[in-house]
Symmetry: C2
Subunit: 331 residues, 2 copies
């Protein structure tokens, strides 16, 4: 039997090339070999966007289009929407007895995010409790595997712990203890050279960017700030144009040639970027095309995600039922 | 239209005479004048009894019998079981965005209970979040009124605040803002003179106590420790035998007569207690009798509570639906 795998996204904006290399590509492969579930975490998105629910709503449709565009097949992958599976909240409430607020406070993701969002002094309970709520996401589908980046490892570890504690307390293997899967981590820096690519940083190349937008962004890419003239010797380290060439240009010898000419002051930024634009446009244009197709079938994709949610409700109902039986509250 | 009123109990043991005077008696009256809902909070009971779910389960049946015994009419009052209304958890999760962990930490009930239960250093998240979860109990039935003791006032105030914040954020009166109702507070001390009567203190007279148990407990009641002989002048202040006479003996002139003779050293503890036993037995015997009847109809009462839960699910479904519409997550 295929192992069940869960991943997901918060609907807070469109997906970019960083998401593609970091996870979407992997999902397209995994749907052939695994029983794959993809969660659209709109309830969690509301924890820090409750004052702008329209954004979350629109982002759900954007996500669905992005998924379709990169090749996620809604018949092979079960895409589901968090708010359509209320059992997640129920599972969460029962899990919350097995974790202390001290443990949650020490969660590194929560710590970092609280700092980033300047919420230390006034953390909404909803935001604070979301690492435990994420455990309920994973447990509600009985996921065996959760592909994550290294920084999310504690979240999966925490979920295993909770499942184990619950199972041990009631002497029965009610909850499936999930395992983390570490993919090849591809960190994609922003066009401005920032280590992270993100909407709030305004430095992202989106999967849906038009040819014009792409061209504009590629020509803004951070290169070597010390190089004034095209015949100055330049540095390729920390030079985002070359970082992107490494990631998207499959002609490795061309990249090596460009790099050595760049170091020698024999090729200008314009040439390097013009070529980068071509390469990236070649990569993005089929995605862009499928995305346009998706835009016209938005409603249909949403229907598929609602069907997926129904399927998850049925699985989650069983999980809740078994939990309740263990806690002697099944009537 | 009748105002809707909500009260409830945690199923962690049988009910005693303190519960009767503090709330059950009031409920029996209110079911005639209000649209009354009574919640059996078994999910909250699990927050500090998750390691002993059998106790919670058994206590549900005990509660149902106690309700029936004191005259709660399951056709007039909607009795419901928390774990049968998963919408409560859903409402809770959405409310959690509108309260900070700092606010929860300052909740006086939580502060006191954490101290009592020595959980400051390792507070389960489930226990920590229960004041907000209680708000969901109240809001899920659209309660207008919540009868409380003075110490629970902050809980109802907190619920009003949450409802108001939610309604203001989305510009629509989605949630019913409840009001607290303060009853005549009857604090009933324990037989040992402790200010509170409670199971953990082992000083309670239960509604279901047999004649023998009652007699034994009445004769253990704390009186005047300085009085050695029956003809010593005694004190009636802080003397629990007289506190109970005041509460249960409807013959006020008899009580006054006993008090003045006690002060003068003209009546012994035994006489005072013998009479107290008669009075209390007179009060408890019809309750005890109805309780025996209830014991035989436990299953039927449980069925009624499950029907009540179904009715609440329907109301709560509407509430959740309106909340989701406001947050633009209704599909």
């Amino acid at each position: 039997m295929k192992k069940r795998v869960l991943t997901g996204d918060r609907p807070t904006g469109r997906l970019h090339i960083g998401h593609f290399l970091g996870s979407l590509r992997n999902r397209v492969e995994m749907q052939e070999t695994h029983d794959q579930f993809v969660l659209i975490a709109n309830v969690q998105a509301l924890t820090d966007n409750f004052d702008d629910p329209g954004r979350v709503k629109d982002s759900i449709l954007e996500l669905l289009c992005d998924y379709y565009a990169v090749g996620i097949d809604f018949d092979k992958t079960t895409v589901f929407i968090q708010s359509e599976v209320p059992q997640i909240h129920e599972i969460f409430v029962y899990l919350a007895n097995f974790v202390t607020i001290q443990q949650v406070s020490h969660n590194p993701t929560i710590k970092t995010e609280l700092k980033q969002k300047r919420m230390e002094k006034s953390t909404p309970l909803g935001f604070f409790m979301y690492p435990v709520h994420q455990a309920a996401d994973i447990l509600c589908v009985r996921a065996d595997l959760v592909p994550v980046g290294k920084d999310q490892a504690p979240m999966v570890e925490g979920t295993r712990d909770l499942a184990k504690k619950f199972n041990e307390m009631y002497g029965k293997a009610v909850l499936t203890e999930p395992e983390a899967v570490y993919g090849v981590e591809k960190n994609v820096p922003g066009v401005d050279g920032n280590e992270k690519m993100g909407k709030s940083l305004n430095n992202a190349i989106y999967l849906g960017d038009s040819r014009d937008e792409l061209r504009k962004k590629v020509f803004l890419v951070y290169t070597d700030p010390n190089r004034i003239h095209a015949d100055d010797p330049g540095s390729v380290e920390g030079n985002i144009a070359f970082t992107y060439h490494d990631l998207f240009n499959s002609d490795k010898s061309e990249v090596e040639d460009l790099k050595s000419r760049y170091r020698a002051g024999k090729v200008g930024d314009v040439v390097v970027k013009e070529r980068l634009f071509e390469v990236m446009d070649e990569f993005l244009s089929p995605i862009r095309e499928k995305r346009r197709e998706a835009e016209e079938r938005k409603q249909e994709l949403l229907e598929k995600a609602l069907e997926g949610s129904k399927k998850v409700r049925e699985i989650a109902d069983e999980v809740v039922g078994e939990m309740k039986e263990a806690m002697k509250i099944k009537f």
